[in-house]
């Protein structure tokens, strides 16, 4: 048994050495794109990967999918796997701006063009194109709209912001964008609570509950992502403060992303505004950037999605560009079809 064991360890070692000197990879053919997402845990990412799939399909390209489930090391393995498979390009949603750098470098070394979707890398010598929402500007515009709502109410509102994972640049920009809007709104809003959520719904629920206990007169809440809206609704309901806009005691609510929940809450009159990332623009721009890179064309290192703010006043006009509205309408049609 011991001999077998020692032989086995030697065999495993030999596997390492042999595997590293085997023949070169085969080419799977043109038009295969590896799409690696950090997670599919929220509707936004599901909508984004579906939009990228549609865009690639429309251009006759094949998509390979890999989800790292929040594990940056796994994502590095997946990127290396794509390269070994001989993909023609990679679209990547990294976990954060720092751990993505070795992945971009691996793609650079292999000569595979790489586009980072929705999350930019930290500064480094690694070359990539990032297609990102202008989180700062969209959050600022959303904050400014909420500020106007507060002013219109005629009373100075106490406000809370749900902050995302501060390892994520998007979370930082959204926090800062809202902060900039509030800095110009001190006559109408006082920010009394900054709730760290690390993109976690349970932490969001606990944080809003605590904020409502500390400040029962809280009058405005902004969440850095719409996926935490259910946590806010739950805390407000428990506190007896969940009312439609225009009703006595309505807490002004604002969000970011433009997901299905936000769309339904807007339509029902509970959400005042949300900053929308234009997923369809970002998907199209990512695939186009890959094609341009493959052709050797110049592509700027950052392509900005300017997004927009949706509220009751412009809903009819811009809902077609809100991904949450489209997903909700598709689900409604699917439901009717099924019935």
């Amino acid at each position: 048994m011991r001999k077998h064991a020692a032989r086995g360890i030697l065999a495993a070692t030999a596997f390492a050495v042999v595997s590293c000197s085997a023949p070169a990879p085969e080419d799977p053919g043109a038009g295969t794109i590896g799409v690696a997402f950090e997670t599919l845990q929220t509707e936004f990412w599901v909508a984004a990967i579906d939009a990228i799939r549609s865009e690639l399909d429309a251009r006759g390209m094949t998509m390979l999918e890999a989800i790292a489930d929040g594990d940056a090391n796994k994502q590095l393995e997946q990127v290396r796997g794509f390269i070994a498979r001989g993909v023609d390009g990679i679209i990547l949603v990294p976990r954060d701006g720092k751990s993505v750098i070795p992945m971009v470098r691996a793609a650079n070394d292999a000569g595979v063009p790489i586009v980072l979707f929705n999350r930019p890398p930290d500064p480094s010598s690694a070359r990539s194109v990032a297609v990102v929402a202008d989180n700062l500007a969209i959050a600022r515009a959303t904050g400014e709209f909420l500020c106007e709502q507060a002013r219109a109410s005629g009373e100075r509102k106490k406000a809370a912001i749900l902050v995302g994972d501060l390892g994520d640049q998007n979370a930082i920009h959204r926090r800062d964008g809202f902060g900039e809007a509030m800095a110009g709104c001190e006559d109408a809003v006082e920010v009394v609570s900054r709730i760290p959520t690390e993109w976690n719904q349970e932490k969001a629920l606990a944080g809003v509950t605590n904020a409502l206990q500390a400040h029962p007169d809280l009058g405005l809440i902004f969440t850095s992502s719409d996926f935490m809206l259910p946590s806010i609704v739950s805390a407000l309901r428990t506190a007896g403060k969940y009312h439609e806009a225009g009703e006595e005691g309505h807490v002004i609510l604002g969000g970011f992303d433009g997901d299905v929940t936000a769309w339904r809450m807007l339509a029902d009159g509970y959400l005042d505004a949300t900053g929308v990332q234009d997923v369809f623009f970002e998907s199209e721009a990512s695939v186009q950037a890959l094609e341009d890179l493959r052709r050797g064309a110049e592509v700027p290192p950052v392509i900005l999605d300017e997004g927009f703010v949706i509220h009751s006043g412009n809903m009819e006009e811009v809902q077609g560009r809100m991904w949450g509205a489209r997903v909700a309408q598709r689900a409604t049609r699917g439901g009717r079809g099924g019935a």
Partner: protein
């Protein structure tokens, strides 16, 4: 015939790996390429380091859920010492050795806390290590406010990305570690005590085995192995992260159980764990290269690990019925 049977009994997972390669190689483009097999091997090594440590704990009949937290805390503290972005020893030639030593000490400390909780305070291993995991993970996130730490020295990064000839540099760390634990289990009194404690702690104690110290050793060794893995994971990503390794627990326990180590204690081997980790890594890699959706990959992996656990439970039941 009986010789063939005994050979297969010890190496059936290795046979499964060969079958997996034989099946996926011709149908999955790039799977058998040298670049991909090199990827498989460099992914295998850090996972194997954690799994070897977990093997020791499972052999004693325990379980260590805190390995992921050790990976995370060691990662951020080591990175804080050596990062060029304001690290305590930034730019010093001692930065890398000091950071590596600190990372190993983190393993030692967390392992001691686990071991004492289980052996002296008689806490159930599941609860003790879950509580330690929660505390240590929270501490890592609090220390960094969720921010990652980059700017790690080149000398450290080579541990993750470097190679010595055709072999990854990490093999120089994990190879001796696995061999050392294998020799410990098969050729030393302490190794026999570990199996004795896992087989029947009461009988072991009556026979003069220092059960508490043996259990303490298993948890300390396990956490130190996790710290070794943290060094490799951090070097590969060139980043200290407070959530590093957060999702590897199922792969770690899956690798050990697929390799034949019993969840009920008293049985296991490093060689089996090597095979189990290789199988999990090959499966993960192959399914991803096939372009299956992530949900399908998770379901297949979950089903394989469940099947291995069922085999273990059935074997245990049959042996108790004898």
């Amino acid at each position: 015939m009986s010789r063939l049977r005994s050979l297969l009994a010890g190496h059936w997972v290795a046979l499964l790996c060969v079958v997996l390669v034989a099946v996926l190689g011709p149908v999955v483009p790039g799977f058998s390429s040298s670049a991909n097999l090199r990827n498989v091997f460099s992914s295998l090594l850090p996972l194997l380091a954690v799994a070897v440590g977990q093997t020791l704990v499972l052999i004693t009949g325990g379980i260590d859920l805190s390995v992921t937290a050790v990976v995370a805390l060691a990662s951020v503290l080591g990175a804080r010492v050596m990062t060029a972005d304001g690290g305590l020893l930034a730019g010093s030639p001692l930065a890398v050795p000091a950071a590596v030593a600190l990372m190993l000490v983190i393993g030692l400390l967390v392992g001691t806390a686990n071991g004492l909780s289980v052996s002296r305070l008689r806490m159930p291993p599941f609860l003790a290590t879950l509580a330690v995991m929660t505390f240590v993970s929270g501490f890592a996130i609090w220390l960094t406010r969720s921010a990652n730490i980059a700017g790690l020295p080149e000398g450290f990064r080579l541990l993750g990305a470097g190679s010595l000839g055709p072999a990854p540099a990490a093999l120089l760390v994990v190879g001796p570690l696995a061999l050392g634990v294998h020799l410990l289990l098969t050729r030393t009194v302490l190794g026999r005590w570990l199996f004795a404690v896992g087989g029947n702690a009461r009988t072991a104690r009556v026979s003069g085995v220092p059960v508490e110290r043996v259990v303490l050793f298993a948890y300390v060794a396990c956490a130190v192995c996790a710290a070794v893995a943290s060094i490799l994971y951090t070097a590969r990503l060139e980043t200290g992260s407070p959530v590093l390794g957060q999702r590897i627990l199922l792969d770690v326990i899956g690798a050990v159980v697929i390799g034949g180590t019993s969840l009920f204690g008293g049985r296991g081997s490093v060689l089996g764990t090597v095979y189990g980790a290789l199988f999990i890594t090959l499966l993960d890699n192959g399914l991803n290269l096939m372009g299956l959706s992530s949900f399908a990959v998770l379901m297949v992996k979950g089903a394989v690990i469940l099947a291995a656990a069922l085999v273990d439970a059935t074997r245990e039941r049959l042996e108790r019925g004898r």
